[in-house]
């Protein structure tokens, strides 16, 4: 088993764990952390792809950097929403489906 394959597999496992967390976790912060875990899993797969060939590929690195920025943005937005909700100072209302 090559190194990059190992990285890929780990990334996928991380993705799976994160997915479980996103679905199963109750608290919004946990969900966000789980999402970020998933993200890291994906980034690992990408990084592994960078080493798939003979030369280290810069493109996936750039993708990961962009991905991180986007993830930061998304996480920030979610946190902001969660905080806004908390600010409204009431439990999250039951949504009508």
């Amino acid at each position: 088993m090559t190194q990059d394959l190992l990285y890929s597999i780990t990334g996928i496992v991380l993705f799976g764990i994160g997915l479980f967390g996103v679905i199963a976790a109750a608290h919004i912060i946990r969900k966000l952390i789980a999402l970020n875990t998933m993200g890291i899993g994906v980034f690992m797969v990408l990084l592994a792809a960078a080493r798939h060939g003979v030369v280290t590929d810069p493109v996936p690195h750039a993708m990961v950097l962009t991905g991180i920025v986007v993830a930061v943005a998304g996480t920030a937005l979610c946190l902001w929403l969660a905080l806004q909700l908390q600010l409204l100072d009431s439990p999250v209302p039951e949504e009508p489906p």
């Binding site: 496992v13 030369v55 905080l83």
Partner: protein, 252 residues
Amino acid sequence: MFLKLETRETGSDVGLSTLACFLLGVVITTLSAALIIAVIVSDKAAPELASLAMQNLNTSGVENPVTAVLLNFRSYDTLLEIAVLLIVAVAVLPDQCFAGKTSLPAKRFLSRNVKHQVNPVLAGLLKWLVPLALLVGGYLLWIGAYAPGGAFQAGAVIAGAGVALSLAGQHDFTWQTTSVRITLSLGLLVFIVVAAINNLITGTTLQYPVSYAGLFILIIEVAATISIAAILLLLFVCLKAIAEPAREGDTQ
């Protein structure tokens, strides 16, 4: 799946019953396994994009291949990435920021919080830390052309300086001013302007003239660094501003 969204601490960590958790685990494990198997089975050598990147590196204006990809080969993605950041920044901006002239007289971006008690140790530390962080940021920005580093890293470090200032509590940040908004959008604006100028020069959007490629990349990176730093700082400060009263309200 997201039918219940908790924003407060509850007794349990998990929003699902044990059985559901188990089933979910089984399903996700299976899925992951299937993915892994798919990866292993079709594991083949891909055609090399890396070599292509390396071949073109000398005409990209920078020596760091990652920066070359980010700001030359795939600069479009980076442009959009800054736009993504801007979206969140605008979404998070506090409302009064836009109240315009009727609101408080325009303050400076950074002002001393007179009410807050001055901790001399903290103040001393900040005096060293903030300039250092700015310096490091500048370095990262410059080194990005040759080695790992670049606008995002630099911006993050500079924002870190602001975070430190904010956490120390001795300074207030004001987001009401037009200059702040210019700062926030500077990265995107400069990027687009550069793209347009290049369009006039070379006839293709985002295609730099080879000899000036390094210069244009630097211009973009400087602007992007400023914007990224400002946006990250904004995110932190605004979330902190909301979180504090929210947490107080929560504990009452």
